[in-house]
Amino acid sequence: MKRLYSILKYICIIALVISLISLLAVVAYVLINGVDKLSFDLLFGDYTDSPSIFPAFIGTLQLVGIASIIAVPIGIASAIFLVEYTGNKGRFVKIVQVATETLAGIPSIVYGLFGYLIFVVAFGWGYSILGGGITLAIMILPTIVRSTQESLLSVQNGLREGSYALGASKVRTIFKIVLPSCAGGIVTSIILAIGRVVSESAVLILTIGMVVNKVPESLMSPGASLALDIYYFASHGYPAEASATAVVLLVFVIFLNLLASFVGKMIKKSTYGDTK
């Protein structure tokens, strides 16, 4: 018996080592191949003689902006309705629950196809940043609804009752008591959703085209994102530039993750902290 336990322990250790090594290998590979290509021209150049990721950087920011402006308010409002107005029970909530879970699990290329058929073809917009941004918004919406629901459910009912018992209306209770109590969790999940937007590529190939050399003139223009640049560079004979872009994207995503935990902690501190 004792022997079995120690074998199990070693299997776990080996598994951990394998996962750590593969993660490190990816990061190391990207860094070794990419860092020395990180030049001013690549980062901020205007894409004349040498490739630049500046247009894609602008494109990425626009996509993040569009997707979050649409998905954040709709997602939070939907979750508020489900938790605060239907009590998160009943047939309707169950259906929505199954729908959001299913939608969250759909491969992103399917969203891309949907965006392509709707915005590019049916609306006749052609490839556009706006169409891509809206498609991304639809893609992250279920995640935001689900995680906001969880945050709202984590607020103790005693706080709601306390608020009602003081004569506060439902709306006041939601906005002054419930949302501030779980703002940390909601903000964290939004930032993580933005991380998904930043690293998405399949959706964008089908919706914003792949114009890597021009800053989009308007939201109706085609464009690129950092993730798309990697694909473009790698498949057009610029593997080193692809790696350099990957470094930028990696840093960006790490930054978003750190920001998420930092903001989450800050908000938590401002509601719960300073308790001395």
Partner: protein, 256 residues
């Protein structure tokens, strides 16, 4: 709009309450006099908390809860369609079993109710906050840390803060649902002293599991069993010469 003015007696007639098919309260009639402490006692699940929550309509929040009967506080029919439930709850405050301070500063906790009813002037709020904390006899303990988070206080302080928070709405009635059951004896003593003081202006109804507490603080006591009001009268009479055999068995500790 119905105002809560004048005599704040609480009157319930022919009260029946159902959760779905289950009848939790059976034909209860009671008249609770103003500016006294009335205690509801009885074993767990006898319906005393449920009955208490009728008077600030907290049962409205419970799905499948159906209430029959006539309920008046200060002459106002509190289940009338014209009655503003938020105004009712402003006038009929409630303190819960588990202290539930909001995760914000002590000051903001107290100012929550006045702000709800449109008071925004800082000087006015300052005064209400100090007054309320003084009435809940916790002012001296917290006056130097009004901006600190209320969750940093001890359980007993949190409960007195919650009382102060209710008082800030200037209620005429205060409903207390086992307010000391989660507290130590010293905090319990402080809250009992406080009730003695508050009943000069406020009608207090308290649900308690602790019969000694009822004898210490209550002018009147009502004994509930299985959704029925078995006996109601002056606390002294209930505990020294109960008329009903079930009451006697309960207070002498032979069941419940």
């Amino acid at each position: 709009m119905n105002e809560f003015i004048g005599n704040m007696d609480i009157i319930a007639k022919n009260c029946n309450l159902f959760y779905g098919d289950f009848q939790a309260l059976k034909n209860i009639n009671i008249e609770i006099p103003e500016k006294q402490v009335t205690a509801f006692i009885g074993p767990s699940g006898c319906g005393k908390s449920t009955f208490l929550k009728i008077f600030n309509r907290m049962n409205d929040l419970v799905e499948g809860c159906r209430i029959e009967g006539d309920f008046r506080i200060g002459g106002v029919d509190i289940y009338d369609k014209e009655t503003d439930v938020n105004l009712l709850r402003k006038n009929v405050g409630m303190v819960f079993q588990k202290p539930n301070p909001f995760p914000m500063s002590i000051y903001d906790n107290i100012a929550f109710a006045p702000r709800t009813f449109g008071i925004t002037k800082k000087s006015e709020l300052d005064e209400i906050v100090e007054q309320s904390l003084r009435r809940a006899s916790i002012w001296d303990e917290v006056k130097d840390r009004l901006r600190k988070n209320a969750l940093g206080m001890s359980g007993g302080q949190q409960q007195r803060l919650c009382i102060a928070r209710s008082l800030a709405a200037s209620p005429k009635v205060l409903l207390m649902d086992e307010p000391t059951s989660a507290l130590d004896p010293i905090s319990t003593g402080k809250i009992e002293e406080l009730m003695e003081e508050l009943k000069k202006d406020i009608t207090i109804v308290i649900v308690t599991h602790n019969m000694q507490q009822a004898t210490r603080i209550a002018d009147k006591t009502a004994f509930f069993l299985l959704g029925e009001l078995v006996e109601y009268g002056n606390t002294d009479d209930i505990f020294t010469s109960p008329r009903d055999e079930r009451t006697e068995r309960y207070i002498t500790g032979r069941f419940g």
